[in-house]
């Protein structure tokens, strides 16, 4: 299809791994994950593994529980059942900031940038845990402070440049156009040096040419940083073209799993999206 090989191999679970990930432990291993809000079961029995350099997608109708799954993976919510192994470590009871340090970063469906700060500072906040500078050195502006700031600035500019945002580095994040904000959010997430990055509807509100650029960037991110990407998206063109494995959820449960080709022809998926055939006819 294109230069990005789609050669997938079966692993122990029902999941697929890219050929190059074979034999490596998964970056994310989710087992029987579930959460209830009051009496309502929002997610139930969610299982998947993601290889270290896999791009996978999470799709499903509105209200299917996709963002809730992201919130569970990043410890915004604590699961009622099941476990999440991030690089082999169980994240049970950890805070969001702790799991980020373990290697998971994300973007948000309704963009959450630090609006009053510049784009550069947004990325530098993302790099927070990479900047080595003690509290005292920060407080007294010791030489180590200047050294670490210099390094941080260079690294942040590099990242901004990578996402094509170098020329807006000094602008306030809140004043940027929507599409640029989305890319800046990805940039900030990358800055925290993750092993896997979760993108919540990265193409929402983008025009077709921006979306095409985004698709290219998503692959570049994986290839350059050798990390896994897990994304929620409604733009099927993007999902089918970029993702190597896809999970479909509806009413909080997995209804299908597989390669884009398999998903496209899965009757359960078609039903979830279009309704039962006879209903459509009627």
């Amino acid at each position: 299809m294109n230069e990005y090989s789609r050669k997938m191999i079966k692993v122990s679970t029902t999941n697929l791994f890219r050929e190059q990930d074979a034999g490596k432990p998964p970056v994310l291993d989710v087992r029987n994950l579930g959460i209830d809000f009051g009496g309502l079961t929002a997610v139930d029995g969610f299982e998947m593994t993601i290889g270290p350099t896999e791009i996978s997608g999470l799709i499903g109708p509105n209200g299917a529980g996709k963002t809730t799954i992201f919130n569970l993976l990043t410890s915004v919510y604590q699961p009622t059942r099941g476990s999440i192994l991030l690089q082999g470590i169980d994240t049970k009871g950890m805070t969001t900031s702790k799991v980020n340090k373990l290697g998971i970063a994300r973007t948000f469906q309704n963009i959450r940038l630090f609006n009053d700060m510049t784009a550069l500072d947004n990325v530098k906040v993302g790099m927070h845990n990479q900047i080595k500078c003690s509290f005292l050195a920060s407080l007294l502006h010791l030489p180590s402070y200047y050294k670490s700031e210099k390094k941080a600035n260079e690294k942040a500019m590099e990242l901004l440049d990578f996402m094509g945002l170098a020329d807006i580095a000094d602008q306030k994040a809140g004043s940027l156009p929507y599409g640029v904000q989305r890319r800046l959010e990805i940039c900030r997430a990358l800055a925290s040096n993750p092993a896997i990055i979760l993108l919540d509807e990265p193409a929402a509100g983008m025009n077709p040419s921006e979306t095409a650029e985004l698709m290219h960037q998503i692959r570049r991110i994986r290839d350059t940083f050798q990390i896994a990407i897990f994304l929620i998206e409604h733009d099927m063109n993007l999902v089918m073209n970029v993702c190597e494995g896809i999970v479909v959820v509806n009413y909080g449960k997995i209804i299908a799993k597989g390669t884009p080709e398999e998903i496209k022809s899965d009757p359960a998926v078609i039903e979830a999206y279009l309704g039962r055939k006879n209903e459509v006819d009627a």
């Binding site: 963002t67 919130n71 915004v76 948000f108």
Partner: protein, 293 residues
């Protein structure tokens, strides 16, 4: 018997706190602001009542009505002049303005009535009731205070539950924008809230000064803070919460003064507040709000 005596006294002072706390909580619920001038409205109410009885020689009931009218007008004026222009901006800006209003009221009172404390004549004229050979004494003030606060609470519950205006108030406090879209006059509802809160403050002022008869420009501050604490204990924004918080606070205060330490009663009251917030971060009857991600 002694315990019962303190309990009754505690409920009595707690009832006053509850009436003041209602003003804080209603305003917070609707305007989402901490109205730190509320305590000073109490003081104004007490002064008006004092003037009407002592200078004009009119009966107590007239003085209470006069205080309620003046405070209602004052409450509406304060809202229109000082708070309304800032609606929708930072809540901190409104807080500071409220403090400005509080300074203004205190200093205006000082200018009009002087700093020297006035001795407030109790509105209650009948004698205390004595039980069990004087082991249990219930003063007229206690009876009136508890009776009035029950009346106020029942009245307010009926008002917010049954009347159009009361329902509008609840709607505005739940979601101001949605209420507006449903055709509720938000400005009028907010004015009404301030009016009711201030009228209650006038009643509280008279009751407070009947129990503790020294009246000076700073009379309202400490009960104001106490009542605010009560509102938070009950869950700020919740009307039954304010009642519960007020009465609880009154009982805790009275008992800690008698059984633990008079000197540290302030510290104990505030420590209880902190403990309650640690267990229930939004107060006893407050709503838990989760941020959507």
């Amino acid at each position: 018997m002694q315990v019962l005596q303190y309990l009754i006294n505690g409920v009595s002072i707690g009832s006053v706190y509850a009436i003041i706390a209602l003003g804080y909580t209603m305003v917070y619920g609707i305007a989402k602001m901490l109205n730190f001038a509320h305590g000073d409205v109490i003081m104004v109410g007490a002064y008006i009542s004092f003037c009407v009885t002592n200078y004009m020689g009119l009966p107590a009931i007239v003085s209470i009505l006069a205080a309620m009218v003046v405070c209602t007008v004052l409450g509406i004026l304060i809202e229109k002049l000082a708070y309304k222009p800032l609606r929708g901006t930072s809540s901190l800006a409104v807080l500071i303005t409220a403090i400005g209003v509080s300074y203004f009221l205190q200093n205006a009172a000082q200018l009009i009535w002087g700093t020297a404390p006035k001795s407030f004549t109790s509105i209650v004229t009948f004698k205390p009731f004595s039980f069990a050979d004087g082991a249990l004494v219930i003063t007229g003030e206690v009876i009136i205070t508890i009776a009035v606060s029950i009346l106020v609470m029942v009245g307010l519950t009926l008002f917010t539950g049954k009347t159009r205006m009361g329902k509008a108030m609840r709607a505005v406090s739940e979601d101001r924008d949605a209420a507006q879209l449903m055709g509720i006059n938000v400005n009028q509802t907010i004015s009404m809230t301030f009016a009711i809160g201030s009228a209650l403050a006038a009643i509280a002022g008279v009751l407070l000064c009947s129990t503790v008869p020294t009246l000076q420009p700073t009379t309202g501050s400490m009960p104001g803070i106490r009542a605010f604490t009560a509102a938070v204990i009950g869950g700020i924004g919740s009307i039954p919460g304010a009642m519960l918080g007020g009465i609880l606070l009154g009982i805790i205060e009275t008992f800690s003064k008698k059984y633990i330490s008079t000197e540290f009663s302030d510290a104990i009251v505030f420590a209880v507040l902190i403990l309650i917030l640690l267990v229930k971060p939004t107060g006893l009857l407050g709503k838990q709000v989760q941020e959507k991600v």
